[in-house]
């Protein structure tokens, strides 16, 4: 009797308790999850933390310089190889987001995809084609630093050649267990910051369609390589 009268009560309490506890845990877990997502704890051992991104940068630099110094490749082949390297190392989606900042929200999803794709082409074309002037460059990595929220900046300096002493910093972010570059800072000039203000200017004056149109137009321009070649021919 006692048992029977008690058990439903127990069960009821147990059920309530269960609900309460799971609810509380859920809330707690959500909050912890949100807090973690927003600001991951700094690594316990910064030096060990920094090893992977530093190595990634060092290896990529080495590969790029090896490609640049390879005399058997044609200019076009060189560019393609470097493009492939850059595509693997740069996180173009995050870069696009950072570059557009709050304006990212004003692009609809189709436009976003278009923007990321075109921005990627733009960067690789315009910067890839300039590399041919940098054959005998050596870049020395001088250190790395953990940034807030566990980004890592790798510092490097150009050791010789015409641009000796120029400082290059790479900012990397880990996403899905992979380190990828999200910004390049040259002599204090950040690619993301600079494009951000330029794009902000275009967006505020003409709107997102115009920006994407402009990107297409730049990408459709005759190859800068060929125009460079002609200009140097006439000059020297």
């Amino acid at each position: 009797m006692m048992n029977r009268s008690r058990s439903p009560r127990w069960e009821r309490v147990g059920f309530q308790g269960l609900v309460l506890w799971t609810g509380a845990l859920l809330v707690l877990w959500c909050q912890v999850g949100v807090a973690l997502a927003a600001r991951p704890a700094p690594p316990e051992d910064p030096e060990a933390f920094v090893v992977a991104p530093t190595q990634l940068v060092a290896e990529t630099l080495e590969q790029i310089i090896a490609v640049l110094q390879n005399p058997t490749l044609s200019a076009e082949a060189r560019r393609q190889e470097i493009e492939a390297l850059a595509f693997a190392v740069f996180d173009f989606k995050t870069m696009s987001k950072l570059v557009l900042a709050r304006n990212w929200k004003k692009l609809d999803p189709a436009e976003r995809e278009e923007f990321v794709a075109q921005f990627k082409i733009y960067l690789s074309r315009n910067y890839g084609s300039r590399l041919d002037r940098f054959r005998q460059t050596e870049v020395v990595i001088s250190g790395a630093r953990v940034e807030p929220r566990n980004d890592v900046t790798v510092f490097s300096t150009v050791a010789d050649g015409e641009y000796a002493g120029v400082q290059l910093d790479y900012r990397l972010r880990q996403r899905d267990g992979r380190w990828r570059v999200i910004d390049v800072v040259i002599e204090g000039i950040s690619l993301v910051a600079n494009f951000r203000s330029q794009f902000r200017e275009v967006l505020s004056r003409k709107g997102p369609e115009a920006l994407i149109r402009q990107l297409y137009k730049k990408n459709a321009q005759p190859d800068s390589e060929s125009s460079d070649a002609t200009s140097t021919e006439t000059d020297s």
Partner: protein, 362 residues
């Protein structure tokens, strides 16, 4: 080096403009120059203080729409080229950000600056650039390199003086050694022996010295023919011209010849880079302005011994408080119809960006 080049050459045009100022020896006596520098300095600090005081926003600052209307009245916005609703939204957002101080406006005199910028561009396209092309055509590269080195030696007193003003004995020793080496073994500066020996080329100017001692940069200004600068930078140039005072001892035609050759020589070195920057930037004025400001900030940061190689925006540049929100927004739009609040769950936040975007595109 990948990615490096367009940006690092940006700082070099700035150097050309620093050279131009050395003509100032011709037009101002030492005393009047100091007077102007002092005046400018007071003006600059006064302006920045005034700006800060005035910019202290009252708690209920202008509502964004009012700011927008003011903007349109200025004729800055060019309506009609775009979907007005979206452009409006973008504009409001930017105005609000500036009003909230999230984006400090570095360029309050943009209208004037753009006009000056246009003037300088004309001067370059029709004056300097053709001259530089011709110069590159007729001279061997070794001669151009020699002139560059010679010019660097001429500027060394400026570097030395500012190193001392920033209390850097090591730099001063390096600078003196560099002057001695290059002036003697380097055949009066034509060969850069010091770099071969391993003495670094320091880079200081009076603008940096002022920054080092905490003088604020003041608003960005484009000087006619002298190029991008800030109030502090312009004052710094005047100060620096004291370091090359020996130039006013030459006859005037000689000054013009030497300076002219040096400028054209320097411009010739960066012909391709200028072209590329012009062609590839989306707004060349903004490109140059930001590059200049960021580069200056980094250099001054380095002079002060901060390991701060990042543009001062720091956190603002790489994170947004609502970054998760962006990702979420994709999924919110995808699941708009049911309007449920499921998106608040953390794992839907994590998984949403890819899935959400896909759903949307279908």
């Amino acid at each position: 080096m990948l990615w490096s080049e367009p940006w690092c050459t940006v700082m070099r045009p700035e150097r050309t403009t620093e050279l131009k100022v050395l003509f100032l020896n011709r037009f101002f006596s030492n005393r009047s120059r100091m007077g102007i520098a002092a005046l400018g300095l007071t003006l600059a600090t006064g302006l920045t203080v005034a700006e800060r005081v005035l910019a202290e926003p009252p708690e209920d600052a202008l509502p964004p729409t009012v700011a927008l209307e003011a903007e349109v009245d200025d004729g800055l916005a060019t309506p009609g080229q775009m979907d007005p609703k979206r452009a409006m939204a973008a504009e409001i957002e930017i105005q609000r950000e500036i009003a909230e101080g999230r984006i400090p406006n570095p360029d309050p005199w943009e209208n004037f600056n753009r006009r000056m910028f246009r003037l300088n561009e004309q001067a370059d396209v029709y004056g300097f650039e053709p001259a530089a092309r011709a110069w590159r055509f007729i001279t061997p590269s070794i001669l151009r390199k020699g002139i560059d080195n010679f010019n660097a030696l001429l500027l060394m007193p400026v570097v030395l003086g500012n190193g001392i003003l920033q209390l850097k004995p090591l730099n001063a020793v390096q600078d003196i050694a560099r002057i001695v080496y290059n002036a003697t073994f380097g055949l009066a500066g034509l060969i850069d022996v010091a770099t071969m020996v391993g003495i670094p080329q320091n880079d200081e100017d009076f603008g940096q010295t002022l920054g080092y001692w905490g003088v604020p940069s003041g608003p960005y200004v484009v000087m006619p023919f002298f190029g991008p600068s800030t109030i502090r930078g312009s004052v710094g140039r005047l100060g620096d011209s004291a370091g090359t005072y020996y130039f006013s001892l030459l006859p005037i035609w000689a000054t013009f010849m030497v300076r002219g050759i040096e400028l054209v020589n320097l411009r010739a070195r960066f012909l391709d880079e200028f072209d590329e920057n012009r062609r590839e930037s989306f707004d060349y004025y903004v490109f140059l302005r930001d590059a200049y400001l960021q580069n200056r900030r980094a250099r001054i940061g380095r002079a002060r011994g901060e390991n701060e190689m990042l543009p001062g925006a720091g956190d603002d540049l790489y994170y947004f408080d609502d970054e998760e929100e962006w990702d979420m927004e994709d999924s919110e739009r995808a699941g708009d119809q049911d309007g449920s609040g499921v998106q608040r769950e953390p794992d839907s936040v994590k998984s949403s960006p890819v899935g959400g975007a896909d759903d949307e595109s279908k």
